[in-house]
């Protein structure tokens, strides 16, 4: 009996019990749908986050921060010592940038960033917001990050001491087009100096030179941020009364792995291993591995429903086998081989698995899009600005097909085997 005949025969058997087949298929649909929807959403989310991170990171730049551990640290200090002062007393100094630049011909520039929490106040504009103040060299910073560009006003390469550039949401906190700050406005900048007792608010009056365009994404304190206020590096040094900086951004001539490794090692050696050098790729790979774990976990949970579907397939097949014992006897009496009987039963499970997988993939894709729409609409809170574009990779589609059909077939193996092993003489006697 050839494959087409086997499939046709299996299909005629399924058609006879439509409701039962539909319910069995539904089990597979739900399982596959859950897996596909979860993967589509989480992969969409991963892409959203990694895109937003990329906006704040430049591929050919390295982040240098003090390491929290004095022993050789491979970037473990990331995040913890961000913007803070290392307990060991080790610091990066602003005047080290030129020496760092001269470490390798592959280094284009080294940029020091001083970062403090502060407030921006303008009585005339009724503005009083907490912000992050960044002291940067405007020229180098705009070369490193193309998003450091004014939408209103200008970003001067040779700023006056009182010049500031503000992020879009500093000027337009509600993102509704109502601008609080315009180029030429005078505002007061404040920060709480806790190095003296009692702590005092230091302040100075600054003049807004430019308002940045919306950058979006998550601010991790490296690239331009919508809630950042940028002041010249020298002003920051005197305002915050410090020679040290919180991080250095080292821009490279290229983003080859070899260059990144070479320069990273040179910088670590220069600082005697007391710094962590983080490449954007390293951050991306951490993100990817975190998401892989989350996805594995989600798919694992969803797979349980598919397991339940598999058991129901097995159950139905055993019932079907008992009902069709006589039919199997007839087929065998007509000369059908045991192997063919096995194939017929497996073909039924393949048909159910395939239909379930296809409908499950379509349903899962639909569910993912509905979920994304619900998230974007803000019905569940979150301001409605959280956009995820669900993603369905060919791997997921292919995997879901294989998984759906695979589970059906595996759970049909035992009933199919039992059917094939029936003795014709006994099967024919079955009422």
């Amino acid at each position: 009996m050839n494959v087409i005949d086997v499939l046709r025969y299996a299909f005629s058997a399924i058609k006879l019990r439509k409701l039962r087949a539909a319910l069995t298929t539904l089990g597979v649909i739900i399982g596959i749908m859950a897996i596909v929807a979860l993967l589509a959403i989480s992969q969409g989310l991963q892409t959203t986050i990694s895109d937003q991170l990329n906006q704040g990171l430049s591929a050919n730049s390295l982040i240098v921060i003090p390491s929290i551990d004095d022993s050789d640290n491979e970037g473990g200090g990331f995040g913890v010592s961000f913007g803070g002062v290392d307990s060991s007393g080790f610091r990066l100094y602003v005047n080290q940038t030129s020496e760092v630049e001269s470490l390798s011909p592959n280094i284009t520039s080294a940029l020091a960033i001083i970062q403090r929490s502060g407030r921006i106040v303008s009585e005339s504009e009724n503005l009083n917001r907490s912000i992050t103040i960044y002291g940067v060299d405007y020229a180098t910073y705009s070369q490193t990050y193309s998003s450091f560009e004014a939408e209103y006003g200008t970003v001067p390469f040779n700023p006056r001491n009182d010049t500031i550039v503000v992020g879009s949401r500093v000027s337009d906190p509600r993102s509704n087009g109502t601008q609080f700050v315009f180029p030429g406005d005078d505002v007061a900048l404040l920060w709480l100096n806790a190095t003296v007792l009692p702590p005092v608010y230091e302040n100075y009056t600054a003049r807004v030179s430019g308002v940045l365009g919306t950058v979006g994404g998550f601010s991790i304190g490296v690239g331009p941020s919508d809630t950042g206020v940028y002041i010249p590096l020298s002003t920051a040094q005197s305002f915050f009364d410090t020679d040290s900086c919180d991080m250095m951004i080292v821009t490279l001539t290229n983003s080859d792995n070899a260059t990144i490794t070479e320069v990273s090692d040179l910088i670590k050696d220069y600082y005697g291993g007391q710094v962590a050098v983080i490449s954007p790729e390293a951050i991306q790979s951490v993100l990817t591995s975190v998401f892989s774990t989350i996805q594995l976990f989600l798919v694992g949970i969803a797979a349980i429903s598919l397991l339940v579907a598999g058991i129901s397939i097995m159950n139905i097949m055993i019932v079907s086998l008992i009902e069709r014992t006589r039919e199997i006897g007839i087929l065998k009496a007509l000369g059908m081989k045991s192997r063919t009987v096995l194939m017929i039963f497996l073909a039924e499970s393949v048909i159910i698995g395939l239909m379930g997988a296809i409908m499950g993939i379509l349903g899962g894709w639909g569910l993912a899009n509905v979920t994304a729409m619900v998230l974007a609409s803000g019905i569940l809170g979150g301001g409605g600005n959280f956009t995820i574009t669900p993603m369905l990779s060919p791997t997921v589609v292919f995997g879901a097909l294989i998984f759906g059909v695979g589970v059906s077939v595996i759970f049909a193996l035992y009933p199919a085997w039992r059917a094939s092993k029936l003795k014709p003489v006994d099967a024919l006697r079955h009422e």
Partner: protein, 227 residues
């Protein structure tokens, strides 16, 4: 004339719970090609067991059974199905597949032997014509009378050009008028088409219509005579 079935000291013992039941106790039988024999006996005489063995549906406990020259007692499951393919079995309860039409039932048997689709269709129509069901070939078994179903079963049994037909009480489940029709069809197949017939029955009158009658009692052949 060649021998199509040959049994030598054929025995079959069943286990009924823990009690062995000797269904066949040393059967010696030879059937030649073109023959028409009926196996007659009361229920429990072992005639159906013998038929199942000849039909390769079951294996003998001991003794030799050659079907078409092949010793079926030594064959594995797979080879037994190949033997079955060349035997036309007709059952008392028709055993048609209910969801398939008469034609599809006949074609199913041919699909098992990998006959081409076109050949199947042509041959199934031809066979149903021979058994007089040309007009009913697209009906499902439930839409056919008992006699018509039995004729579909006979057409199906002939599907793969079998060496012989095995009939198990072919008229046991139809009325007497239909029984006559079925019997005349069997006679016709034997005489005109040269199909060998082995028929099991407990009806003396029917048995006498065969060329040869084998009488079985308690798992043994009591008499074997030409009518």
């Amino acid at each position: 004339m060649s021998t199509i079935v040959e049994a030598i000291d054929l025995r079959k013992t069943y286990m009924l719970g823990k009690i062995p039941v000797e269904a066949l106790r040393g059967i010696n039988l030879k059937v030649d090609s073109g023959d028409f024999i009926s196996i007659l006996g009361p229920s429990g005489s072992g005639k159906s067991t013998l038929l199942n063995l000849i039909g390769a549906l079951d294996k003998p406990t001991s003794g030799t059974l050659r079907v078409g020259g092949v010793n079926v007692g030594r064959l594995n499951d797979n080879r037994l199905s190949e033997v079955r393919l060349k035997i036309g079995f007709v059952f008392q309860f028709f055993n048609l597949i209910p969801r398939l039409t008469a034609k599809a039932n006949v074609e199913l048997a041919m699909s098992i032997s990998n006959m081409s689709v076109a050949e199947r269709s042509r041959r199934a129509a031809g066979l149903l014509n021979v058994v007089g069901l040309k007009d009913r070939m697209h009906h499902k078994p439930a839409e056919l009378s008992g006699g018509q179903q039995q004729r579909v079963a006979i057409a199906r049994a002939l599907a793969n050009k079998p060496k012989f037909l095995l009939l198990d009480e072919p008229t046991g489940n139809v009325d007497s008028k239909t029984a006559l029709e079925v019997m005349s069809l069997i006679h016709k197949l034997n005489k005109e088409n040269g199909v060998s017939i082995i028929m099991v029955t407990h009806d003396q009158k029917l048995a006498r219509e065969a060329r040869r009658t084998v009488h079985m009692v308690d798992g043994e052949i009591e008499s074997d005579m030409v009518n």
